[in-house]
């Protein structure tokens, strides 16, 4: 069970949009629509941002959106703000009733 592949880092200026990819296989990301995304600020617990590929829980800004094509899921953040600077992790349900996280992406707001 290998970690999902995410870029190590992405960056953008305030107001811009960025996209973080999350690539897996047909045994996880590509096999269903149970992909979720988590934001983690330094020293904090992860925060739930997107679930079931593209659904936002109550209280999460509509600047955050998710999508999926084949074995790759994506998180897009539009209108970047300083507080968006954090680590982001994708997570997918996987074969054998297990779950797998991505390696994480560090977002820097320039």
């Amino acid at each position: 069970q290998s970690a999902l592949t995410q870029p190590a880092s992405v960056s953008g200026s305030p107001g811009q949009s960025i996209t973080i990819s999350c690539t897996g296989t047909s045994s996880d990301v590509g096999g269903h629509d149970f992909v979720s995304w988590y934001q983690q600020h330094p020293g904090k617990a992860p925060k739930f941002m997107i679930y079931d590929v593209n659904k936002r829980p109550s209280g999460v800004s509509d600047r955050f959106s998710g999508s999926k094509s084949g074995n790759t899921a994506s998180l897009t953040i539009s209108g970047l703000q300083g507080d968006d600077e954090a680590d982001y992790y994708c997570c997918s349900y996987a074969i054998g009733s297990t779950w797998v996280f991505g390696g994480g992406t560090k977002l820097t707001v320039l």
Binding site: Q1, F34, S36, A45, P46, F48, Y51, P57, V100, F101
Partner: protein, 122 residues
Amino acid sequence: EVQLVQSGAEVKKPGESLRISCKGSGYGFTNYLITWVRQMPGKGLEWMGRIDPSDSSTTYSPSFQGHVTISVDKSITTAYLQWSSLEASDSGLYFCARLFGPQYGSNWIDPWGQGTLVTVSS
């Protein structure tokens, strides 16, 4: 308020045993799974396993199978993660979290506990 509160930081020696806890409150404890996630210093999140508090059934990541045990006492709405013989490589931050499983047509992990720091050093 739905919350998971974890036990405090631990410092142990290699070979020692350890059990850390995660107490849920504010929701039907047996209606959701509990999952454990490891974060080693400066590294990413790793899914370790999950337990169904309603019947204590477990599933583990192959990476952790046989090295840790996840258990639950639903009478006190508490889940546990335990090691029988710690290694230095077990040092890290361990999170528990409520897991809504796909059998209900949706899947998410929320909320998360505050994390328990485990340090294993001779």
